[in-house]
């Protein structure tokens, strides 16, 4: 069910009386959902919260006139009810929430409630049968108390107290519930004392207790409306649980109060509510106890201090729990906020580092590509330009030789031989940079030559076997990487594989992978040696990772396995490389 949009006004600009007419246009009835069980009530509570959010929403700074008017009516009715509840005892209430509501409204920016609050309290007093003069005096005492609390809050920097902060909560409780009621009590007790004949001191104490508790329990409740959404978590399960806990609290409070005065049994429920739903949960549970207690103590209050037992116990209970639960809720809220910040920061950092990793990865690939291209270019030029030029120069020197004097010939021959030796160096250098065979003849022939050279240099029997499909269409990048991996693996064998007399290099395409295995029959201690001396394993792994390949090593020791040697495996998926080939 969708709530029809409320008409909103800037509260400071619109005169409440002028816009009163608009109130009639507000379709209040639409807000009430079908009353079918808990879910419906949850829905309603959602709407009520939405409405409250609209009424009190600090962020939007918008207020419906209907909301203000209902607040006014509510305040009047509320005050009237509380007076009626205490009337039976003919005395001061055990708890007085009206001032809390007025203060909350004023704190939320509705200063007009100095006036409307006064009207409501006065009206309620008159309606309940108090004489006009007494009603006026009581109204004055209450409004002055609220005003004093408001002024003190402003002085101490709590114009808008954030009840999720421990310091704000403590400050708010001390000022509005601790100090301000003294003022109200001193002023109001005079009138009450004069009217009823009760001793002034007793009335002051009764008044103070009622007002202090009213402020302590109800003001945080009203002020926390704006946080309800986040504190309560408006999911179905949450709402059900909250309702259950609150119902439990009410029942327990009523039962224990009426039966054996074991009110403290409510404590775990209040704490549970506080732990789960923060300041909103704490204040709601406390209100439940206060209301249940106030009803239970109906007719058992007195103006003479100390008030009769049950009411006093209710007050003490509430006072203790407010002082306990509100700070707990604030600490929890602070902790949760910190946790949120921390997790946000962590997520951000993780995202950043992941992004960095990708960038580094891309850069590495790019760097490697650039390096390969550059090596290939230099290698080509060494052959095609430097090598050819050198060969030509040899011929030119030979031509000079034929015409030169016999004296010069030996020196020219020496020059020719030097040039020739340089040519050999150039060829070796070029091949080391990048074997031309890899580009011109393909991976298999290039590897064959590499392995042949290696075997000839190290005098180790070496086999090169190939199997599977043709490797011609494998991207050049993959071919280059595999070539380098085999080169590095052979270097490791020469360096670290003691006692190797046979080496096998196998190249195979099987099951979507291009595989290379370089196996020796050495002592099998190669990995340890590599770990100690830092062979090129890491470099091989990094190169293979660029084409989504990986590296593995197996070793056998003769004494244990009845065979010996180390095998380095490299494999590169064929499909992905076709896709990413450039």
């Amino acid at each position: 069910m969708k709530i029809s949009k409320l008409r909103r006004f800037e509260p400071r600009r619109v005169d409440v009386l002028v816009s009163w007419r608009l109130v009639k246009c507000r379709p209040f009835h639409k807000i009430a959902g079908p009353a079918n069980g808990l879910w419906a009530s949850h829905k309603m509570s959602l709407h009520a919260l939405k409405l409250l959010d609209d009424f009190w929403g600090w962020q939007q700074r918008l207020l419906t006139v209907a909301g203000l008017f209902s607040a006014f009516v509510l305040l009047g009715a509320f005050t009237f009810g509380v007076i009626l509840l205490t009337r039976a005892g003919g005395d001061v209430a055990s708890i007085w929430p009206s001032n809390a509501l007025i203060l909350a409204l004023i704190i939320r920016g509705h200063a007009s409630f100095y006036l409307w609050g006064a009207v409501a309290i006065w009206g309620a007093n008159v309606a309940s049968g108090n004489p006009l003069a007494l009603s006026t005096a009581l109204m004055g005492a209450n409004i002055v108390e609220v005003g004093f609390a408001h002024a003190m809050l402003i002085v101490f920097g709590l114009r808008d107290p954030d009840l999720r902060r421990l310091r704000s909560v403590v400050g708010f409780l001390v000022i509005s519930a601790g100090v301000a009621p003294v003022v109200g009590a001193l002023l109001g007790a005079r009138a009450v004392s004069a009217a009823s004949g009760a001793p002034f001191g007793d009335v002051v104490l009764s008044w103070y207790g009622a007002d202090a508790l009213g402020m302590a329990v109800f003001a945080p409740l009203f002020l926390s409306f704006k946080d309800w959404k986040s504190d309560l978590g408006l999911s179905r399960g949450h709402a059900m649980a909250l309702v259950a806990v609150l119902l439990g609290t009410v029942l327990t409070a009523t039962a224990t109060f009426a039966a054996r005065d074991l009110l403290f049994i409510c404590t775990p429920l209040i704490l549970l509510s506080t732990m789960n739903w923060g300041i909103a949960g704490a204040t709601l549970a406390l209100c439940c106890v206060a209301t249940a207690g106030a009803i239970a103590t109906f007719g058992q209050t007195s103006l003479i201090f100390p008030t009769v037992e049950p009411a006093a116990r209710l007050q003490i209970f509430l006072a203790v729990h407010v002082c306990m639960c509100l700070p707990i809720a604030a600490i929890l809220a602070q902790r949760r906020e910190l946790q949120n910040e921390l997790s946000t920061a962590r997520a951000l950092a993780e995202a950043r580092s992941a992004e960095k990793e990708i960038q580094v990865d891309q850069l590495t690939r790019r760097l490697w590509d650039v390096e390969s291209e550059e090596r290939a270019r230099v290698s080509r030029e060494l052959h095609d330009i430097a090598g050819q030029t050198l060969a030509t120069m040899v011929m030119q020197v030979r031509a000079i030789e034929l015409e030169a004097s016999a004296l010069l010939v030996p020196r020219l021959v020496e020059l020719r031989q030097n040039l020739s030796a340089h040519g050999q160096d150039l060829d070796r250098l070029s091949r080391e940079l990048r074997p031309a065979a890899l580009d011109k003849l393909g991976l298999v022939r290039a590897l064959d030559a590499l392995i042949g050279n290696w075997a000839a240099v190290h005098h180790i029997e070496t086999d090169f076997v190939t199997s599977g499909d043709k490797t011609n269409d494998i991207p050049l990048r993959v071919q280059t990487i595999l070539y380098r991996v085999v080169q590095e693996a052979l270097t490791n064998v020469a360096r670290h594989a003691e006692g190797a007399t046979k080496v096998t290099v196998s190249l195979a395409t099987a099951e979507g992978y291009l595989r290379v295995a370089v196996a020796d029959n050495g002592c099998g201690a190669m990995p340890n040696k590599i770990a100690k001396h830092g062979g090129g394993l890491q470099g091989m792994r990094e190169r293979l990772a660029m084409v989504d390949g990986d590296l593995d090593i197996e070793t056998h020791v003769l004494e244990v396995d009845n065979m010996s040697g180390t095998t380095v495996f490299a494999r590169i998926p064929l499909e992905i490389n076709h896709a990413t080939a450039h």
Binding site: Q388, Q396, P435, R445, I451, T471, D552, M563
Partner: protein, 218 residues
């Protein structure tokens, strides 16, 4: 009177080409029938002339030297091919010999080697530049047969394991492929190796080649 040996020179470096021409011109036995500066040009020219020997560079635009040899062989060219290159690489030499070249000479030693090479090739010999003659020797390979006569035959599981080992699979991979534990793969491998007296992976691969399990990529 020596017989005339007719030549055709293919090289994309004009100065070197001129140097070769000068070198052979000093010998009365040789006649240069023509020249080309890349493979394609050579193929076209060789349709009309029929030299005894074609001297071919490897690194050339369009069609490189070895590809040229291949094409000439496909066209049943009857002359002999002599490679004249800066590449001192086993891969090129080996591939060239597979294609049936008659000689392989390095440019840096051409002034000394060209004439003897041409003469050797003309008489039906194979001439490899002495500087790289060792590259033409097959490296130390397959010196001895790896496996001795089997004491008993391999089980199916042992065969599968050996075969995959030879193809370059790790024991872990083989285990997951066969759906058995890595330990079982090790056991099968060791049992098979013991049966066949294989002492290393190299032996296993050699055994696989002997068995014809590996099909060559080329």
């Amino acid at each position: 009177m020596q017989p005339h040996i007719s030549l055709f020179l293919v090289d994309d470096h004009p100065i070197f080409l001129a140097g070769m021409r000068a070198t052979v011109a000093a010998e009365p036995a040789f006649v240069v029938l023509g020249e080309a500066s890349d493979g394609l040009e050579a193929i076209r020219a060789l349709e009309s002339v029929d030299p005894d020997i074609v001297v071919i560079d490897i690194s050339m635009p369009h069609v490189n030297g070895l590809a040229l040899v291949q094409r000439l062989r496909q066209r049943n060219f009857s002359g002999k091919c002599l490679i004249m290159t800066v590449h001192e690489d086993r891969a090129f030499l080996k591939h060239g010999m597979e294609l049936g070249i008659s000689g392989y000479v390095l440019k840096r030693t051409a002034v000394d080697q060209l004439i003897p090479a041409l003469k050797a090739v003309y008489t039906g010999g194979l001439y490899i530049d002495p500087s790289i003659a060792d590259l033409a020797m097959p490296p130390q390979r397959r010196a001895s047969s790896g496996a001795s006569e089997p004491a008993s035959s391999l089980s199916d599981g042992e065969t599968v394991v050996l075969r995959h080992i030879a193809m370059g699979f790790t024991s872990k991979e083989i285990a997951s492929k066969m759906g058995i534990g890595a330990k079982s793969v090790e056991t099968l491998k060791l049992r098979a190796c013991a049966k066949m007296s294989l002492k290393s992976r190299a032996d296993i691969v050699r055994y696989a080649v002997m068995k014809g399990w590996l099909h060559d990529i080329n």
